[in-house]
Subunit: 230 residues, 4 copies
DNA sequence: GATGAATGAGGCTTCATTCAT
DNA sequence: TATGAATGAAGCCTCATTCAT
């Protein structure tokens, strides 16, 4: 008899709206009114579903991580037991715009006809899309000052870095990579990826369009002693 | 007889205060009152010297660039005509904490007895210092949304990237580096450097302490085909 | 077959919850959400049973009066036709903590094994208990501004004062008391009782613990010329 | 050269306005906008002079205490070394409306031609005036829930009670009063005074107009064994 | 140059209340 | 009866900025 709950959907709706607004105005500049407007809801309802502006931000991070994780898993699963390819896919999952060469994004993600995916593409919510990148930057900046964000952001980055370190370790074991400190290498590569994000959002044009993934991959391979062939 | 103008000193004082505040609270979180308090001035006076909060931010960027440029020039001048060493110094100027090996910070900067320098060190205003790094991140985030900041930030980054590209080009000419697209390589390395900044400010601990410069250097050398010796 | 109405029980449940919340946060500070939480109900249900927050407050007053009245009647009935003893009981009914000497609270109230009464005692809903006292103060404050509350509060106080005035009048008729203006005396004593309430709630400790009833009784007796024996 | 500070005047102006508003709407019902309007200032300016709504309330209490203290001192100083008269004046200072008999308010306060005093009278800011009484009640209610207010309110009441206890003690020493526990008696009388306040504000009419001071005095004298002559 | 009062826009949040289910 | 989503009106407070002195 009670009205069926639509909380999950509403929350996602609000989180998505927050992402759009953050991409345009930054976190501090994103007002609840903006978010409500973008979600076509009332301010009151936004606060009915979230206690805090901060809680929304944290959920944005979660969503970013979730989306990212899905894209990453999809790619990595197609390259199991081949660390060099996994490395490519890892970088590509972060930096490749749809349609780049290396391995191509998994069909399930970028070519499906699902209208939701189309909309996501249009709205740049895919990882590597402009909205997501700007959100990463905004959250990173907020992490500098807000301990709670720092914690969550740090955890997310650490998880990714650890995944990467695992790839490096397996590559070393297989004789594909040469690396004395996989953890350090992974962190450096992660930094390069995030730095590319940041640069693209903050100083568009500095990194020539389309060259990002390729260049970072080259750096990573160079770092891991794979570049012999280049 | 009018009192002698102290405007320049005041402006610097305010800019420095703004840096401290930004490092602690971010740009949006930095109120004029905070800045005035940090500078031990009154709110009114801050607005007497700057029309805008934005103008202060732009001056912070200028100051960052100026300081940075000085440190960079000092280092590069000691390595003229040796691109590989210049590359090391370039990276080191950004990422090295005082006391790292490569060439050591120029005397004029880090061992001088000047009390002002001491204070700068203490307050981390030196490039690579925590305050400066956090300011870079904050300004980068602001650049995402504020065109004026984006312009200035982009110009600063472009200038640095161009310097780096010059080093790469000379290295290629000398046969020290192998690189088909110096501009792309320079941008990628620049991204790695800034990414390391960001990571250190937003997710401290992910990059093992002290490994940053070394790792980025290794990536850069790998990218430029110099890693043969490793 | 409709389910049997539980409205009365629910209303009482809500009123009791409101009392607890008011005792802790005051009337203005008591939100419907607080009340619902305290009653372990949903917000919507609270508004199903009460149109208004104000209506709940008025019911709290009713409940206070009812409980009070019962305790008072129980005491007074054991002292019929003896105004001095009635006076003692009147004051005691308001101010005595359980266990004081004068006549002792009627058995039916404080020694019964009824679990409901135990709970009431634990929760301080008994007259003189902390929750009830704080509610009186809160309602009194609200009465200052809200006409409807003022009316109800005034009526309740007037009724009590009138009861007291009756005692005084009978005492004067019996020769036990000396008093030219029973109404004024009753009002003054009522004021002393309520003032003791207020003081205990707002500035705990000012009135030495346990001395309240005794002292007010002494004042009343002094006022009524009964103090000869002291 | 700096603009001369008018902070003290402004703060008093705001505090007075708050008193008026509280008397009409209670503390919770008093919005900053109301206060600003009553003071004919802007909301921003109110917050420029006070951090908090709470801070204003605390200052209202201070002002109440200050005013009260002045009236009390003025009265008491005319009755030095005569505890029974001091007692009368103490009660009168709290409860007497201007123009009552006992000793009459000191000239300096109530008959001066000072326009400020006239205005105070008109606005009921004098102790015992309706505004002040309502403020006492409102603050007392707020003290129930807000520790900071409770502290301040408790301190104020304790100070008054202590003054009263001193009078009682001296009276006992002089043989004017009979009282085993001056502290308890003082607290009880204080309670009676405050209760009369509360009753007058919350249930106007219960206490017959003009009888308050007389009745409380009679109670107090009864309590202190002075009533022999009545 | 310097001070500090003053302004006013607007942000976040809370909450009583209404409604669809 | 009961649930919980939804609304909208305020409220408190913050702040950049302006100005009188």
């Amino acid at each position: 008899m009670p009205r069926p709950s639509n909380t999950q959907a509403r929350r996602l709706q609000i989180v998505r709206a927050m992402m759009d607004v953050i991409a345009e105005r930054g976190y501090a500049g994103a007002t609840i009114a903006d978010v409500a407007r973008a979600a076509r809801l009332t301010r009151g309802l936004v606060h009915y579903h979230f206690t805090d502006k901060l809680e929304i931000l944290l959920c944005v991070l979660d969503e970013l991580v979730r989306t990212h994780g899905m894209a990453l898993d999809a790619r990595l699963s197609s390259a199991r037991n081949n660390p060099p390819r996994e490395l490519r896919h890892f970088i590509d999952a972060h930096l490749a715009l749809p349609g780049r060469g290396v391995a191509g994004p998994p069909k399930m993600f970028f070519s499906g006809p699902s209208p939701e995916v189309r909309k996501a593409l249009r709205a740049n919510w895919i990882p590597g899309g402009a909205v997501a990148v700007k959100c990463w930057v905004a959250i990173g900046a907020e992490a500098v000052r807000e301990p709670e964000v720092r914690r969550a952001y740090g955890a997310a980055v650490r998880r990714l870095t650890e995944t990467l370190a695992g790839i490096v370790r397996r590559g070393v074991a297989d004789g594909d990579f040469v690396c004395a400190q996989p953890a350090v290498a992974a962190a450096a590569i992660m930094g390069a990826i995030l730095g590319t994000f940041a640069l693209d959002a903050s100083a568009p044009g500095v990194i020539p369009r389309g060259s990002a993934a390729e260049a970072v991959l080259a750096m990573a391979e160079g770092l891991l002693g794979t570049g012999g062939g280049r």
